[in-house]
Symmetry: D2
């Protein structure tokens, strides 16, 4: 049997750059928590979500457990109890505090957790400034930064879920990013398919689940030039889309009935008009922004209603080579999908990256020849490869430096609290109708 | 049909005294919250418990809703949203925020709630200092104070439950109140029974459920001179009491199996010795303190194991006329049951008041001729008269000024998070064996 | 400690009579199963109910386990596996097949169970015909017969529940017993109360829970001269009784909401008119028959709506000394409550026995001085004394020879599948308004 | 948008042949029910399973609803209530009796259902003997027969589950089919992969989900020459396979913990030796028979333990072109997987068809260009395409005439009550170690 894959080493990256990146990433996390009170940071609104305080601690735990404790002989463990408290799911590391009870921990306090972060940062910068020559160590630091960026997105989506349940409708950030635009129709862009290659194979960091690079055969297909918008999805709602089982997968329909879904997550009907709860408060739906907070089931039902389908992840990845236009990531601070300002250039696809994660019809499965990383970090991705679907392209809550064309995000088909939307696909023979 | 009962008016109480009492009671609540952080106050550890912040707000809501809004024309509602947020269970007042979601409210902040308290206090003192001549209003203020005292006890028991779930075993108050004592055996005190009277009938405040005063016939009975202790209960545990269904009521046994009870709540076995989690941290069991944190089912099983039984509430109330000795209430600040320092005087019963609530075998039912209060406060007690058992005498977490010989506390038979213990009873023919 | 109570010995009953009674009771059970197919007898419609086949076997198991195995040295156990399969709840006898899985047993077949009954009957008659001189044995046989009569009622109520869930609305017995009558208003009958005695104390069989006979003090009270009828209850339904929380106990209201109760069990609205599912099929409500299939909560809410209350079991038992008029028991074969044909004689109460069990407001608790029987049959009653309410008087599905004035039936407050109704009570001072 | 696919028409099949096949298939169903009593046929052991009586009725309902009612003007509906009672999941047909309540129907009786079958058979044979010239009708009859064959397998697996829960361990069929054999080691058979074609494309019946035929690219791979056996899987159990989370997918481990799995379904440890419950009763494990009653999660964990993996369905289908050796289907009446009698011929794979369904690592998804059938039968397959995995090859309970190399069976990953096992796969570079 072959050895498991090892963490990839990024290309010659000057250590100064690594220490600088470390500080930038860590600072971003702190910035995201700034508008929140101790109480906002302590609560857990559902088992799928975690308190912000837990995210702040767990991302530090990751550096302490995988970098400092094994590689820095002089490192002093901050608090031995944290090893269990802030372990997310690594069986190889030992016991874990039960996930649904993360919101029962009023201690350690937010202040304690901030002290923990400072303690870890000091030790990390000590190492990084001295220069990291061990490539395995380098790779683990890089992984820790990528990991922290994933939790930056979760901080935003988890706190959005928490605030959404509060009848006072609290606002995370008051300034509203949208300026009125004229919408434009989506068009179809065709692709020839054939024998293609997808997956990560070159230099630079990638998660183990993005490789190995491999061949796939694709029939000719077409993708929409932009994601489906709130306005388009509203037509589905108003056409009775949530009352017509023939449009839904059976498991999706069961879910819809059990959960009484009548519209996407965070939608509210006030005075005869649809509104949606955002990180900027409750606002009227903007018809031109990409639809978000859909489950896979809703995305799939919408596509069926239109007479189209979701793309496979291979189709998406091949098509993404034609991506163009502006990208709305975390760095834009919009914290909400933005409308396309202009139609994409001919031959390009707009908004492939940023704005909303795009559900694909591909289940989250190992690529041919996939091997998880060795050691405890081998639990990072591989063991979740059942019962989930792949999303592509990042969202308005994803750090832009975190995303790649080969990046595979994954969630269960019923998950709705991410910025998840869709882009339509269809088989190529529709050409003339596009 | 007779009119429903009205709130009793306390005997001529100078208004100055009422305003003084108001300040003392409200100050006590603030004092209880002082050792707690914003995060401690925000969390809800189970649906039966509420966040401390919620208790702080709800007790103010009670004055705002039942005193200020209807009786003070110049009163400015602090925040209209609070009417729903902090309504506990009054259908007559309107909608209620769902009880299991009290722990999802990071807003209003603890600071907001403190401002709410100050706002209500200012308006209340305005009224009270002007002098309350309307006896109905006087009664409502009194009810608000009694209500707040009940929530003082819940603040302590709810936060104890929350802290108990934290693997860090946080301490609410560090100083440990116990000094070593010699235990003494319990004895039996006999009572003749016959045609007796129980229930509240005289002057002074009482809840509607304590009346009317009425006749009951009691066969001769005996009560133990003190509550069962931790040491005595430990013998039950070690005799396999939790593995022998013949000692338990069927519903209790089902509960024990479903919840995997092997000992009272908060007991932990460390290094071969039983400890218990207290508001002062995890401590070794003290054999001479009254046992607490028992469900009705465990109290009943213990009594059966001994060959005795629980008293009825009528027996308890008649016997309580012979109560003597020191009383350990909230004011003693022990926050834990204390051992009897000396055996009670002959003919008296020790520790009838304070230390631990004593389960009776009486279900919580209306007394003959009972009428709930009129208006919304009629929901205070009467509608809970099914599926619960009566406890008597108050505990170490009860304000001493809150308790009476006729006071009826009530909880479902499976509840364990109160300071609930037991005192043994038996029929009188056992005289010579006592 | 006193010894536990022993089974009462019935007064000198000639053995021939016992063997005759044995045959009559056993034959009645067979008769009740006759209209049912193998399939009807095999199914279990909810955990509270049991398959008819299980009842047929369990009642034989009772004689085998408590009479034949210990007292007949020559008895051959029919099948050792049945000891576990048909044990209902006797921990002292050993393991039990889980109650909710009684409906998963296609084997033994109904035919096997009938053979089991014949085997037990042959052995029992052998003993009985030889003459039973041992009074303890005599008492156990008597208990077995009383036990079988209880299961006769359960056969009818359990199969009614099963058939009610079948969209084909099958009929247990086709002939409809009702003939039209004119209804008459209920009146109030007053009782002086004072120091009374209730409970079983004399000769003749009684369950342990009916004793000891003891004194109770009753304030003056009044009882309605007949039970509440379907027509009266329909007014409650139509007055919004199921939508007004102020009429309900809190636990009852929670139950109503969770279970979406909008009317009593088995009511269906067809073409604008209320019908009810009976053992004779779906029929329009007859306004003059006593209401049945109420939970305690619904009975209590109805009484509150009227401005009355439920009687205590002591009130009921004292009043039952004035019972008069015809009695509709199982033997009448109506299998449905019947209307009062004529108003009761002055000074008497109609329909106290038979027709419908009457909910009391008394929780099912031990009488003062209660001791359960010794041995395994001590589990018969005592261990169920929590969380249930007492019903009195028997129903149209109760064998008439099974009931007594001291008889205490008991069910949880949410149970609705018995023939359970109510009779109103109130305090006596209402005299002139009655 | 293209029209949905239509039911395929089988190649010129003489109508006489169709009427003959109809009779044979329907007779097989009756034969399978013969060893069962009315009671066996009425019970439902879990929501996933259905009573045998329901299967007997539903397969007739299928012909009545999709063939007779729309195509035979003279057809008399047997009972209008059956349209709802025996609808499995066709929303287009209307209401459905709730699946978990199929076991609450004692009526219609088994005899009624047999009469229903006879009524449908008479009408069907009337049509078939007259000759079916309409190709759409022909296709629907064919679909009805294929459908009935699927339910033949479910009759066996559902009744096995029911009998397994009975402490009496009833036997479906007494004669035990196994004769002792010597086991032989599995070997690896290599495949080149490359650009291949899978899926149904030719003549003959196939389900819509088997097409269209399409290209896939496969890397070189190897498959084991026979399925994993009971003896091999026992080593996994004894190596602690059920206690080692690192071998499991995360969702599988959660399932294992929640369900307390310690071995495959139906395994029991008696007197220190593993036994398994079969349709022939409880028997000691035969080490040489293919392992069955595994969930996807267990199959996957076993493969990981060995250092191999599950095949994809494309790999399986390509490899199945080299299938050889005897096939153990329903027709062999073994009703249990059988050991390989001899090692497969060089270059062939043994036991690819029959014995046990083989889990693949492919989720059940639409093939490129997939279109469901038009009309109500379009609900047959497509709407289940989420959350399930594909199994290939048929089992000892599958009719041999029902299976094809392109046949895609599918179940949720936690399902264990089918005859589901596995065959190992690995990437081809292992060549020299095989």
């Amino acid at each position: 049997m072959r050895s498991p894959a090892r963490l990839r080493i990024p290309p010659v990256a000057p250590d100064e750059a690594l220490s600088m990146r470390y500080q930038l990433v860590r600072q971003t996390t702190r910035t995201l928590a700034e508008p929140l009170s101790e109480e906002d940071c302590a609560l857990q609104s559902m088992p799928d979500a975690s308190p912000v305080k837990w995210h702040l601690a767990h991302t530090s735990w990751f550096f302490e457990t995988f970098v400092l404790a094994p590689h820095d002989p002089g490192y002093q463990i901050f608090d031995p109890a944290y090893r269990v408290l802030f372990n997310s799911y690594y069986n190889a590391v030992g016991d874990k505090h039960p996930r649904p009870e993360r919101g029962l921990l009023s201690r350690p306090s937010l202040e304690d957790v901030k002290a923990y972060r400072a303690h870890v940062d000091a030790a990390m910068l000590n190492i990084l400034r001295a220069g990291v020559t061990d490539s395995a160590l380098h790779a683990l630091v890089e992984l820790g930064l990528q990991h922290e960026q994933q939790h930056q997105e979760l901080i935003l989506t988890d706190v959005k879920h928490l605030l959404s349940l509060n009848p006072l409708r609290p606002v995370y950030h008051a300034s509203w990013p949208l300026t009125p635009v004229q919408g434009s129709d989506a068009a179809w862009q065709g692709f020839d398919g054939g024998l293609c290659q997808i997956g990560h194979g070159g230099a630079g960091f990638a998660f183990d689940n993005e490789g190995p690079r491999h061949k796939v055969w694709l029939a000719p297909f077409e993708l929409a030039t932009r994601p489906v918008t709130h306005g388009e999805f509203q037509q589905f709602v108003e056409d009775g889309g949530y009352q017509r089982p023939e449009l839904w997968l059976a498991a999706g329909w069961d879910h819809r009935c059990a959960e009484h879904w009548e519209a996407p997550a965070y939608w509210h009907r006030l005075d005869g008009r649809w509104h949606s709860f955002t990180l900027h408060g409750l606002v009227p739906l903007d018809p031109h922004t990409p639809i978000c907070h859909l489950s896979f089931y809703e995305a799939d039902a919408y596509a069926r209603w239109v007479g189209a389908r979701l793309p496979t992840e291979a189709e998406w990845e091949i098509a993404a080579q034609c991506a163009g236009g502006p990208e709305n990531f975390l760095e834009s601070a919009a914290l909400h999908p933005m409308p396309a300002q202009v139609p994409p250039e001919p031959g390009t696809l707009g908004q492939m990256f940023g704005d909303v994660w795009e559900w694909t019809r591909s289940d989250y499965a190992p690529y041919p020849g996939y091997q998880p990383w060795s050691g405890a970090v081998g639990e990072y991705n591989g063991k979740f490869m059942s019962g989930q679907y792949v999303l592509r392209g990042g969202s308005c809550a994803t750090p832009g430096s975190h995303i790649r064309v080969t990046y595979r995000n994954f969630f269960p088909p019923q998950a709705r609290w991410q910025f998840s939307g869709l882009r339509l696909a269809r088989d190529a023979s529709h050409g003339s109708e596009g």
